[in-house]
Structure formats: C-alpha cells, structure tokens
Amino acid sequence: MITKVHDVVIVGAGLAGLRAAEVSCKTVDVGIVSKVYPVRSHTVSATGALHISPAPGEDPNEYMRETIKGGDYLNDQDAVEVMAEEGFPELIRLEDMGIVFHRTISGAIIRSSPGGMTTRTATIVSSGWAQELVCTLQEQLYKRRVTFYNEFFVTSLLVKDGICRGITAYDIADGEFYVIRAKAVIIASGGGGRVYSVTSNSHICTGDGTAIAFRAGALLKDMEFVQFHPTVLYGTGILISETARVLGGYLVNAQGERFMDKYAPHFKEMAPRDVVSQGMQKEIDEGRGIEGKYIGIDLRLLRKRFRRSMNIPMFKQRFDAFAELAKNFAFVDIDKELVPVIPGEHFTMGGIKTNIWGETNVKGLFAAGECACTGVQGANREGANALTECVLFGRRAGLKAAEFIKKAELLDFPLESVNSELEKINTLLSSKGNYDVSKIRTQLQDTMWKYSSLFRNQQGLEKCLRIVKDLKEKFKDINIGDSSKTFNTALIYALELENLLDLAECIVLGALNRKEHRGAHYREDFPERDDENWLKHSLFTYNNGNTPILSYEPVIIKDFPPKAREY
C-alpha cells in the first residue's frame, strides 16, 4: 500500500474535473485521479456545444425561462442563475486558455438554439468536438504541474465522523493499492449511462463516483431523471448530434410521416429531448417504426440547402462529423438515405446532491459535472447545458475546495475502511463464484432498458427492482476470471458493475415512487405532471446495501413559477 497526500484530490479528469483542477491548483496542491487518461474521458465525445449566457448588458431571462421550462420546473433556480450569469466570462477565460469557438465570416461568435429553446445561446467549439476542451485543459495542467494519477481506479472515499479525508485507489497498471489523503475531495466522475443497454455514453460511463460517494454517506438526488436523447444510431447507440435537427433534419416513421407535428405542434423536432424521444418511442411502440424498430432522420436535403455554408471550414467540419459517424457506424449516406435512429440514454440528470458551490452533505466532499446534481438540469436537460455545467460548477467546486482547505486540517484516515477495500479487491481477484460479470451487466442493462427507460409503470418498475436486487445478490457470487495484477480490466469491469447496480437501484426506486410525468420521467399510469404532490426533489440515503432510504426536499423556485409546458 502506498500513501500520498495532497491538499485537494479530484476524482475524474473529464471537463468538470480538469476545470476544477485548473482553478484550484493555482493556490493549493492538487492531485487528479482518473481511471483513463484525461483525453479518453467521456467528455471528448461530446459534440462541443456549450451554452454561453448573454454578454454583459443582454437579457438573461429568456434563457432561464426556457431552461426551466425545458426542465419541467424541477430546476433549482439558484443554479440556473449561475448558468445565466457566469457563462460569458468563462467563455473569455476558455478562449484565453486556447480554445477556439466558432465564428461567422465577420468574426462574431456563432450561436444557435438547441432543442426546446428559441434563444440563441449555444456556442460551438471550433473543432466541433469537446475533445478540444479536454485537451486544452489538460495542457493547462501540464503547465502547472498538477500530479496526475492516470489509470487509477478510485474504489472508495475515506469518510469518518461525517468528514471526508481522502480516497482509496487501485493502480490499474500494476495493481498497487493507494491511499490518497486530502483535506478536500472533489468528485467529477461523470454520468452512468451504461446502466442502460442503449446509450450514447462511452463504455467507461459507469457512474463510479456517484456510487462511491453514495456508499460513503453522500445524498443522491433526483436519480430517476435520466435523459433519453432522440437520435442515437440504431444498433450502436452512437449519437447523431442535435445539430442535425437544428439544421433542419426531421424525423419520419415507417409511413414517411413527419410525426412530431402530433406531439409538439410548434417546435416539432426542435422540442426538448424528452418530448421528442417520447414521441418517437410512441411511434415505435404503436407499430409505426421503420421495420418496426426505428425512426428515420431525414438529412438528405441539408447539404444542398447549406451549399454555401459548406465553404466555411468549421461548418463543413461539423456537418461532416455526423455524416462520417452515420457512414462509419450505420453504413448510410446521409445525402441519399434516412439515418436509422432511436432514442437512447444520454445524460444522468440526477447525482450527488450539491449546492451551487459543489458542496455536498459530507464535509470536505465536493462534486461537479454530470455526477453531481446541483438541480440545474431539472427533469430534463436542455442541449448544450451539460458542458456549461461542467466548466462553471467545476470551477466553482475548485474555488470552494481551495478556500475550504485553508481552514481544514489533514485528518487521520479510517484504517478499517482501507483494509476492507483491500480485501474487496483481493476477494474479487481470487473470486471463484458462479456468475459472470458481463452476463450480469447485460442483464442489468436490458432490464433497465425494458422497464425503466422512456415509459415506466408500477408493475414494470416493481419487477425491475426485484431483478436489480437479484442481480445484486448474484454479484456477490461472481467469478471475474482474471487474477493478474497487471492491467486487469476484468477486475475494473467488476468494480464498475458494483457501481452500476447501486445506481440502478436508486433510479428504479425513485421512478417507482414518483407517481407523475415530469420531463424525462414518464409514468404511463400517471401521465400528468402533479405539482401539488411532486414539485420536489427525491433524495436517496445509503442504507448499508439494503434498499436506499428515500426522502424529499423542495425545489428552489425564484422568478419562474411552474406553468403549463407546451411546445
């Protein structure tokens, strides 16, 4: 066992983690731990659109109103205010670091409006991929000599007496076990899309940090709210970005009918993601899917329509990005054929409960990015708001943690917890049980997709919960099939599965109890929003592996009271 010490330890080197590190490392000593190299984090596959609030002097209200309406009024409005106020200065900071944002020919920033919005707020990173954001931030850290723990898997938080004292981590390359002590820990470990069989998320999105924090006593919030993006490729789940619809691509069913008219007469394809996805799924469920299975997105006229814009390199690059994905992974030529798409898991709205400074209920523990739930996304995230959440709240968590450690002491860590983590790993390495990790994972993903995705009901969710619990039992009797200490990915997959199971249980539990339709959570048996009973957040408390304890707290509402939601 090796022990290391830092002022602040950050778990996760995606956009949120890197942003937190960049700001905190200017004043305190930072270690950043990631199970993959930073540039392999999930953020790199994001389309690279981020909402940038109005420049000084412009009106932020429209953006806030639309984000909150998009989130079906479950958004905590203090958090939405942060997004509306801090975006522009952040854009300038990011630009100074070396990120380039799209410009028009005259040199002005290009903005567009994502689904469900009419305000033009989304700004695109020039290379058309969020890869540029991650790469540039990593380089900023190179400049500042932060300690990187690349390919270290964090297994637990060291919490005693309600105070976080560090983490335990496993060095994937050589199997060495680490205790990394710190006065503050920031979790920025991303979403958990791999709970579902159909997802646009990377293989590594297994919600580890959320589950780890949960087991260490952090409250989770709104876990039942999971976003399903309308257009992931049928078969692989690879995302066809919203840009396709922003530019005018539209959805058709087997009859060639542009069915979104029915579900969102005004916004049609450009309604928020929950509305479009639910519409698509209805079409498929009612037998109007193409080959009974998928919906077509028609992009055939776009290249012609934007003939002139194709001369602008950034435009062409963005356009070609999804043309290339469709060609590589679905073998279709977007200029000639419909692209086969279905709705697929895309974003975890819920997560570790934090305030607008990333603080959790555990002292010394912070969270930011997709793993956190500041309440900013509500019941349905609007396009381009995730990356903004990562940079703004990542930065805030970094600042707050750096401030926190000034008054904090380095405390002793609970050796018992370290020992039990070590034992867990050794048990897994020598496991000889009856069940296979990949089989349990597949069964979990299929079950979640079947009963706990776009449309949910009491019966299905009850069944789902039973199966998840059963899989949790089976997990205790697994055989990972590799006892090597050198780059043992079988072990990592097992540790990830443990986390997926915990998250799944919370999702199902929250969904089972929430008897209404709000945003992405759609109960067929309760198809209306119910503000009287359900305008509140779900909170999940860890219960020693038993069914989590569910409680509720009010939504922070400021200037935008709930209204009917029509698109």
Binding site: Y37, A55, I92, V100, R103, G107, F331
Partner: protein, 524 residues
C-alpha cells in the same frame, strides 16, 4: 461468418515471452475490431486486456496495430481488414507493453508535454467586455492541428522513431504546429526547439498519415509547414539544405555531375521506331537521373521505343526543386516553377501535352506543389503530368509480347513520393508482374522508408542509412533476391548502404533493381 483473430498476448508478470492466441469471432458487416475484442473478453478469454472508451473513434483509447498498421479498433471494420478470414492484432509499436494490447503511453505523452503545449504568451489584448471578433481563417491551421486526439497511432508507425528514439515524433510536431500557427501565441523558441527535437529528421514518408485516424496532413501540413516557418524566421533550413539550393543555382542540379549527363548523351527528340507513334511525351528526368543514373535514362528511352512512344528530352528543363519544398525553402521555388512550366506550356502549344516524370519526387512536386505555386506566380497549366509507370499502365497500350523471361524473386518497394502523388502500389505491382517468370512477393505495408527523402540523407546520413538497412532487412525476411523500385532517391539510398556494407565486409547478399532498367532489360 467466423473470423480468426490472432491476438498478441503478454503478461510480463507471468509470461517469459509474448505469444499469439487464435480466437474465432463471429463477425458481420458492421462488426468492428473492438466488437471482436469485447466478444473475446466476454466469451473466450476474460483475461484479455485492451483499452477502450468512446467506441466511436474520438477518444483515442483503442489504437493498436491491426494487420501491422496502427489504427483505432473501434473505427475499423473486421471485413475491411481481414486477410483470408483472419486479422492480426498487436499492441502499438515503440512503446513498452504493459499487458496484451495495452502499452505504456508515458513516453508518448512526455513528448507532448515536452513541446510546452500551452500558450507561452497570450497575445490577445482586446478588452473582454464584448465577445471578441476573430478571423477564423487565421485559425485554420491551428484548428486542423487541434483535431489530433493523441491516440499515438502515428508514433507507433513512425519510421524514424523506430531507429532513433530522440526524434520527438509526429504527434508532438502536430502540437508544435498547433501553437506556432496560433495567432494568439508567441512563437518564442518553439521552432528552435522543434529543430532540436528532430523536425529535420523526418524523411516525409508519411506512414504516420496512413495511421492517423483524424486524417491530419502531417507531412505537408505539419512537417513541411513547420520547416517553412523555420526558414521564414531565419532558423532554417539546415546548412546542408541551403547548400543544395546553391548547387542548383550554380550547376543546374542538386547533385554533382557524374560522367556525361544524360542530356548530352541523348538527342532532344527520340523516335527510333517505324511508323506513327502511339503517343508523344516530354520526359522530365530530374537531376539524379540526368546526372548520376544515365543508364536509367537510357532504359526509359528504350521502354518508350519498345512501346512506340516518341520522346522529347528538352534540355531546357531544370531541377524540380523538390528538396527545397521538403526542407522549407518554398520561397526559392519561383525560378524552377517558371522555367519548367513555361517549357511545358511551349510544348503544349505544339499539341504535345503529356509530361512524364521518371523520378517520384519530381512527380509529387510537379503535381501537388507546382500547381499552387503556379497559381501564385500566374503561370497557366496547359498540360498533364504523369509518372512513367502510371503512363505505361494507364495511358498507352503496353507491349507485353516482347517481354522476356526474367527469373527473379523480388519485392516491390513503394516509394513514398509515388504514394504522395496518389498513385496506388497495385499499378506498379501489376506492371512488374507482366514480366514473365518474375516472382513478386507481397511487401509488408509498413516500415517502408528508404531514408532518402525530406533532406534527411544530406543532413542526417547515419539516420538515413539506418532506415535503408532496416527496409532491406524487412525485405530479406521474405526470402527475396532484392527490391525493385522506381524512385532514384530510393535507388541511391539502398545502393549506398549495400556498398557500405560490402566495404565493411558485411555483404548483405541483396540486390537493388531499378524498375526502368529491369523493364528495359526484359525487352532485350
């Protein structure tokens, strides 16, 4: 169908040496190599280790060698790469194996860190109260370089790294270009540093480009572009490269004259056959063939005569200037472009519009660099440029009847400049295959650098020799008598090391065949 995955396995903590394991993987049209590996891990060997994350070709995790060429496993479809229903999967090269397909990437990332990948100075001083206006056109190069995903595929396939680990490698140079081109960064010391890290060691064979999943224009857009920036900043080219230009200006060619130049040996118009020619060409020989490989020039003329092609050999042609383009001396090109293209235009007025080149370096220069330069200098282009092999294969009716038996077992060496001209290897393999009883062994697809390009031979001759020897050794492993190639630079590089070895009493037992001489001899 079942595809055989032959997978490299090695766990240094238990295995003495690496081994290859065979797995049957059910595959369909849309199965990627990564899908196959996941299938193996879930069903056949739980201990198989590989990296993966995004599975859509943007995170760079899954770079590995697939049939000897580095690529992303998640972007490669099994059906596109399999040979006889099997696929060979190995870890990236030049990096130490941690386990199976996982390599230690630290040296690669160290290279990136080493070039200070951040703005040294932020030269943007506008106020930030309003969104800044910027001219995107000024950021185009920066943006291209920014699309690098740091997958290390190029590092794995780089020829120079294979023989010289002090070379920083293509991805780090891409990073340098990203900052040197950034209008908001100061270039402060970056170019000087790049030269020290081996900017001029790259023989521009562009194998890295074949590997690069982001299709970054590494050779022209990065290496040559950086070299040009060096010249503009007064830091380059290297002294030997400057001397090359001097040679041409003083003597009319890059290399000194050995024996009587071809231009003096042959008339300006050659038609030795009876009757109407099937075609009439202008032969652009390039300096090497004119001044040092007169036999090759003779062979070319013979090939054309055997094919009833009339040849013009205008003495007014001059050096193509390729070595200057390759070493960043773009600004010296005007006299060469003007003289050569004006000459061709004069012929075009007489109705003779086919220019053929015998040197692959000349070909790629005339075809890709000249048109851009000509545009800048306002010179029209009223003719077409062909490589001779291409001309033989595609334009004329090739006389194959008179080809005599030539019992040799050879391997074709595909020159990087031919590749740069967009000409496929198959053209030449088919051509050589027309010679009766000549057996042509398939060449591997990587490790093909002769070391002679990009000004490397003149500046780093040891490196150049090491590359040439390596290429010969790769070929020897296939049990062939020799290499056959159609680039005078390759010929010189290989002949030079073969002679060197002989002089050191270490005869490599290997021959180098000039494509033109081989072909002309077959007509005798």
């Amino acid at each position: 169908m079942l595809v055989k995955f032959k997978v490299f396995r090695f766990d240094p903590s238990v295995d003495l040496k690496p081994k290859y394991e065979l797995f049957d993987v059910p595959s369909e049209k849309d199965t990627t190599v990564l899908d196959g590996l996941i299938y193996i891990k879930e069903n056949l060997s739980k201990s198989l280790s590989f990296r993966r994350s995004c599975r859509e070709g943007v995170c760079g995790s899954c770079a590995m060698r697939i049939n000897k060429i580095s690529n992303l496993a998640c972007k490669t479809h099994v059906f596109d790469v399999m040979n006889d229903d099997s696929v060979l999967i190995e870890p990236l090269d030049h990096l130490q194996v941690i386990k199976d397909l996982v390599v230690n990437l630290e040296p690669f990332f160290d290279g990136i860190r080493h070039v200070r990948p951040w703005r040294i100075a932020n030269l943007n001083e506008e106020n930030v109260e309003k969104p800044r206006k910027i001219d995107m056109n000024k950021f185009l190069k920066t943006m291209e370089a920014k699309s690098c995903i740091l997958c290390a595929a190029c590092y794995s396939d780089c020829n120079v790294i294979d023989v010289d680990r002090t070379f920083i490698g293509p991805a780090a140079l891409v990073k340098v270009a990203r900052f040197v081109s950034d209008p908001w960064d100061s270039k402060d010391g970056r170019l000087r540093e790049a030269i020290d890290l081996g900017l001029f060691k790259c023989p521009i064979d562009q194998e890295c480009e074949i590997a690069c999943p982001r299709d970054i224009d590494i050779r022209r857009g990065v290496v040559e572009w950086l070299r040009y920036q060096c010249t503009k900043e007064g830091l380059g080219p290297l002294p030997t490269h400057k001397r090359l230009v001097q040679n041409v200006l003083e003597t009319g060619g890059v290399v000194p004259v050995q024996d009587t130049p071809a231009f003096s040996l042959f008339p300006e118009y050659i038609k030795e056959f009876e009757g109407e020619p099937q075609a009439e060409v202008i032969l652009f020989t390039g300096c090497i063939i004119n001044r040092r490989q007169q036999d090759t020039c003779r062979a070319i003329i013979e090939i054309f005569q055997n094919n009833r092609v009339a040849v013009h050999l205008p003495k007014g042609q001059t050096c193509c200037g390729s070595p200057f383009m390759r070493t960043g001396q773009r600004d010296t090109m005007k006299p060469f472009v003007t003289q050569n293209f004006n000459l061709f235009n004069e012929f075009a007025q007489k109705g003779i519009t086919h220019v053929v080149t015998s040197c692959s370096g000349c070909n790629s220069t005339l075809r890709f660099d000249y048109p851009q330069l000509a545009k800048e200098y306002d010179i029209p282009i009223n003719f077409e440029i062909y490589d001779i092999g291409e001309y033989m294969a595609k334009i004329i009716d090739l006389n194959t009847e008179d080809l005599k038996e030539t019992p040799l077992k050879l391997m074709y060496h595909y020159p990087c400049h031919i590749k740069a001209s967009g000409l496929e290897e198959e053209i030449y393999i088919d051509l050589i295959g027309k010679i009766p009883s000549l057996e042509l062994v398939d060449s591997p697809k990587s490790g093909l650098c002769c070391g002679g390009g990009g000004g490397v031979r003149s500046a780093y001759s040891d490196l150049s020799d090491a590359l040439a020897i390596r290429r010969i050794e790769i070929a020897k492993d296939f049990g062939v008598n020799g290499l056959v190639t159609n680039c005078p630079f390759c010929v010189i590089s290989f002949e030079r090391v073969l002679d060197l070895k002989k002089a050191q009493n270490e005869d490599m037992g290997f021959e180098l065949y000039d494509f033109y001489r081989l072909f002309a001899d077959a007509y005798k």
